[in-house]
Symmetry: C2
Amino acid sequence: MLDISPGDQTLTVSGGVGLLEVYAALPPGLYPPFPPVELPGGVGGLVSRGGFGQTFFFGAEVLGVTFRAPSGRVVRAGGRTVKNVQGYDLTRPFVGSFGALGEALEITLRLRPGLSARHVSAPGSLAGLPDLAARFAWEMDGQVHLIHFGHGRQVDRALAVLPGAVEITGPLDLTSEFPGGMGVGAGGRVKDRRFGWMDGGAVPPVPALFARVAASL
Amino acid sequence: MLDISPGDQTLTVSGGVGLLEVYAALPPGLYPPFPPVELPGGVGGLVSRGGFGQTFFFGAEVLGVTFRAPSGRVVRAGGRTVKNVQGYDLTRPFVGSFGALGEALEITLRLRPGLSARHVSAPGSLAGLPDLAARFAWEMDGQVHLIHFGHGRQVDRALAVLPGAVEITGPLDLTSEFPGGMGVGAGGRVKDRRFGWMDGGAVPPVPALFARVAASL
């Protein structure tokens, strides 16, 4: 399932829908909260990991999630509109729960408008670029990747921090980097502002209290 | 306790610290995620209610919270920096939990910079102003209040949606409106984009699943 509401600028998808499937389906000028990069596990996997390579708070872009809790219960958290009552919220703990709260069945994401988009890359490290205006940023094999969308001039300004960068056109498919699943680790080829990402699907240890919450659902 | 870190633009306070106490302590040009309006319960009460009168996602501005769960256990969720790992997150469910997860002891909020700030008011209703750029917006006795901070021109643009508005200078104290606590309801004098606010402290009903989460902490 892949359902785009251009009017309220939301996207609702089954957990298994791929990130590039979303890009292919979106009308020009609307962007999801992830870059045009295919990663294992589709949108559901991305939400479980708490996002990839973005410079904003990913959790705020996840408006709702329906998930199967470890007990087998199906939990519907959040909703399909931005203005939903922000209380008693079980959406946010699901985001970045690395599977501890179960599996995402259906996800509603906020879409954002932009007149243009650019993807550039140059040798360097994210550590050397602390204050990034670019919406997406990651590092791979010693190359920094930045993507921004918005008004043309905004985009150019946001990407000007990478002088001598080359333009990247078209989507990237990184799934072959992670045949065993995308896990958190220090030695991988791919790194974003939060984690190094390695093949194998290793997740950060689950705090005891979070495990109790997971068991309560 | 009230501890401002201008360097990383965060504020850590005890739950009982007043909203105007925070404003009085902040250096010029740094703003918390609430307007200069005193409300019952201080910062802890505000976080329990999920914010007041703002047009952004309040939960994303709450970086960490230490709270006493209904079991008596003290839970430390989140942290003091924006770049904390956004996983296994118990901060967000606390925000807007209306006391169901217990009482906030210590809270860390994100601060945002702005060169100037204005507060204006004019007769009208929030319903007539759907797309607001102003950071704070609420309605009281048929008057819309808007506050914005940022660059001077940004501020003027954000407030131009209220033609003929008068400037409000100085903070407002609304605690006398809510001697019995600030509760959700339709008949009150004060209304923001999510709720009507009434004296008496009535809270939205707690979903069963959220009550189970609360009991697990």
